[in-house]
Amino acid sequence: MKEHLFEYLLRLGDDSLILGHRVSEWCGHGPILEEDIAMTNISLDLIGQATSFLKYAGEIEGKGRDEDNLAFLRIEKEYKNSLLVEQNNGDFGVTMMRQFLFDAYRLPLFDALQHSKDEQLAAIAEKSLKETKYHYRHSAEWIIRLGDGTEESHERVQKALNSLWRFAADLFQADEVEKALEEAGILPNMADVKSEWLKNVQAVVSEATLSFPDNNWEQHGGRNGKHTEYLGYLLAELQYMQRTYPDMEW
């Protein structure tokens, strides 16, 4: 059970860490000042959540690795984030669509995880849920504004949905790790979380006058460490200082 919990904590922590890093790339490049500040705030929340999840993962593993060690000193295949969060920022529409698909998943997940039989996991979920509500409102409102906005904005977020939809499926991975944790009462019924997610996403997509792509291909692999080409470049930047000056602190 310990191994499964460690594995799942990496999925949670890496989702937060990698998306937090991606969103931080907007710092100084936001379309307007307020949006620049909003995205760096969201990024900070996500990296804070990653700290909590990875710290706990290190404790569960029991091999003396702390959150920094896990964040900076693993190789690409050892990262268990979903393929969705590592995708490039693209334009603002792509970034918001990625964020929205992710926030809509984190909302029901954390809501249910608050009641996990694992107390520390429940505590992190309870804390993170409050932040996720702000993130969700921000991203969902943008999707509706952009989708139901001008011809140009509509076309761009529609394109974003078309290209990201296959990776959104990778948020869910019904494998032996999830099943074992569900049976132990550590994870909620993930099929319920998924249907809640889908219901939410459908409602917002329809209000935004967008449509789902005809192609329903699902691209999986992130939870098993098989990533798209984009993660490697991200890690090269994320890990640069620790790889160049091992164990440096400031």
Binding site: A38, N41, I47, G48, T51, A122, A123, K127, I144
Partner: protein
């Protein structure tokens, strides 16, 4: 042995580095002070997961209490129950307002989309003619508002529940 009450009084000298009018006690981040023969244990909780002030707060508490001669000190961070703005003391709310930051108000359900932005009275002139500029402000705990009467921009300490 030092009394718990005395420690709480000392903690009143430790200020939040981001909102320097509030003490860590006003802010509600100090959850517990346990005094036993072996050690003194302070339990703190973060306002937001990624709040960069937490490490500084911990160091400041340690420095203050070491300065008062307390040696066997443990500071523990807990996440549950999660911090809420309801834990900011009445005194703290008053200080925020005097400092020019509007204290948290009751807010509608955060899951509602396009909810009407909350009316936050201007901390400078008291006008209710204000406008939300952004839900995200200079730190994770604040939103950005503008007063339509006195034309001053101001921070709003947003409600977290």
């Amino acid at each position: 042995m030092v009394k718990e009450q005395q420690i709480w009084e000392w903690l009143e000298d430790v200020f939040d580095p981001e909102v320097p009018v509030l003490t860590v006690v006003d802010l509600g981040v100090v959850r517990k002070v346990n005094v036993s023969a072996e050690e003194i244990k302070i339990t703190i909780t973060p306002t937001y997961s990624g709040c960069p002030a937490m490490r500084v707060i911990e160091e400041d508490i340690r420095r203050k209490l070491l300065g008062e001669g307390l040696m066997n000190l443990t500071i523990e961070t807990v996440l549950s129950p999660a911090w809420t703005t309801d834990w900011i003391s009445e005194n703290g709310r008053q200080k925020l307002k005097e400092y020019g930051i509007a204290p948290p108000e009751d807010e509608v359900d955060k899951s509602l989309l396009f909810a009407k932005p909350l009316i936050v009275p201007c901390p400078n002139c008291g006008s209710r003619e204000t406008k939300m500029i952004s839900e995200f402000g200079s730190t994770a705990c604040k939103a950005h508002y503008n007063c339509l009467s006195c034309k001053e921009p101001f921070d709003y300490f947003k409600c977290l529940r």
